[in-house]
């Protein structure tokens, strides 16, 4: 199955490069460490054999799309990456004509750290659900939502109640939640890897980098870390596609998704909106309804 996908990816990448449909193809090549794959940018049709596909291709490649404004781009996407592309299109950051999407139905990416711990350097042949990244365990869109070419048969989508983790977390008391947030935020070293990994974090100047106004101090004082996490997540409200790239990019293994997933759940409950499905639909905070709920008012 996986070999068939790789073969299809290479064949299609070669074709679009040779026929000059695109100038560059963004995909994955073999990583230098076990359980890794690295993003690769291919311009020469003879290099397409570098392209691979396996269960360690966890980066969200949509993050690179805005780096090539004058080029036509071919990109290899999973379900979540394709939704990032739709979200970027909804925000008028991309034009569909400049992108050729090679979609790969995805069965979830495997957590490198969990595998290393369990199997060491010998990759297992069979892997169970529990080795998936958390974002992949909760994934609701395994198949790409838009594509020009699909490399394999669509996989079965999950049909469970969405956001079981958020519902579970909401049952905790206020102080327990605060303690959890403190513990997670205090690990942060302010490297901003989460921001860099995110396709939706494309501001020319991030709020933490501005001097005027200066929103928060540099350094790793706990309130600074917490404000960074709050605002970073809030800026994703109604825009985050839940790909989990931020959490996977974190060198300190901070749990980040519990914040953005809460916002996603609220957006779905309050505004009945899900990002990354329809590029024509305005994101929820860019519009309003006369009948939005306002029970929170005093």
């Amino acid at each position: 199955m996986a070999d068939k996908i790789v073969e299809n990816i290479r064949k299609e990448a070669k074709r679009i490069l040779e026929e000059k449909i695109v100038d560059i193809v963004i995909g994955f090549e073999k990583g230098t460490l076990p359980y890794t794959a690295s993003p690769v940018f291919i311009e020469n049709p003879d290099d397409v054999d570098k392209l691979i596909w396996n269960r360690y291709c966890h980066n969200n490649l949509a993050v690179y799309l805005r780096n090539f404004p004058d080029k036509k781009i071919g990109i290899i996407v999973k379900g979540c990456d394709s939704r990032s592309i739709v979200a970027l299109m909804a925000e008028k950051q991309l034009t569909r004509e400049n992108i050729y999407i090679i979609g790969v139905p995805c069965e979830g990416m495997l957590d490198k750290n969990k595998l290393l711990e369990e199997f060491g350097d010998n990759p297992p042949i069979e892997v169970k659900e529990e080795f998936l990244y958390p974002s992949c365990q909760y994934c609701e869109h395994k198949n790409p939502v838009i594509y020009d070419f699909l490399t394999g048969e669509p996989v079965q989508e999950k049909e469970e109640e969405p956001y079981p983790d958020v519902v579970e977390f909401e049952k905790k008391t206020l102080d327990e939640r605060w303690k959890y947030f403190q513990e997670e935020a205090s690990k942060c070293i302010r490297c901003y890897a989460c921001r860099q990994a995110c396709p939706m974090c494309y501001c020319e100047e991030c709020f933490v980098d501005t001097n005027s106004p200066k929103w928060l101090d540099p350094g790793i004082d706990l309130p600074d870390l917490q404000v960074w996490h709050i605002i970073r997540a809030y800026h994703q409200a109604g825009r985050c596609v839940d790909c989990g790239a931020c959490e996977r990019a974190c060198p300190m293994d901070i749990k980040i998704l519990w914040l953005t997933r809460k916002l996603n759940k609220d957006v779905r409950d309050l505004f009945e909106f899900e990002i990354g499905i329809d590029p024509e639909k305005v994101p929820p905070l860019g519009t309003f309804s006369l009948y939005d709920k306002e029970e929170f008012l005093i």
Binding site: V227, L263, F288, I298
Partner: protein, 142 residues
């Protein structure tokens, strides 16, 4: 130190309704607590949620945001956008374990001087009940 704890509250009031409402409350001699310190903004839609988080981070005990009733916005739709933002922000602050009553939102029109006074009393009472703030506080003394 028997002095009663008095919370320091920042009130973002929209120029066209709530600020005028506060003015009317004053002109009409309605009594209300002096805790909310008013910041006049053009519209509730002008309020970046970062203003609210920043206020808390800088040491205010509570934030009160008030704008025009839905349908009354001077700019027609500003308060509708604001309503969506505040709903998400309030839920999120509560999700991370921050006291919900420290961020309060209301609609007060220019003719509602008495309601403004009532809301000011309610806001102050609610925040006072929570006591001095410990969470999310930037300590600049060290």
């Amino acid at each position: 130190m028997d002095k009663e704890y008095e919370p320091n509250i920042i009130a973002f009031l929209c120029n066209w309704c709530s600020y005028a409402g506060a003015d009317l409350a004053g002109v009409s001699r309605f009594q209300y607590p002096a805790n909310p310190k008013v910041v006049r903004v053009p519209c509730s839609g002008r309020i970046n949620p970062m203003f609210i988080v920043k206020s808390l981070y800088e040491g205010l005990d509570g934030v009160w945001v008030s704008g025009c009733h839905p349908g009354d916005c001077h700019y027609n739709t500003g308060n509708y956008y604001a309503r969506r933002r505040f709903a998400l922000l309030k839920n999120m602050l509560s999700h991370i374990g921050f006291e919900e009553d420290r961020t309060l939102f209301s609609w007060v029109s220019a003719s509602e001087g008495n309601i403004f006074a009532d809301k000011a009393k309610e806001v102050t009472a609610r925040i006072k009940k929570l006591g001095p703030r410990k969470k999310l506080l930037k300590n600049r003394d060290i």
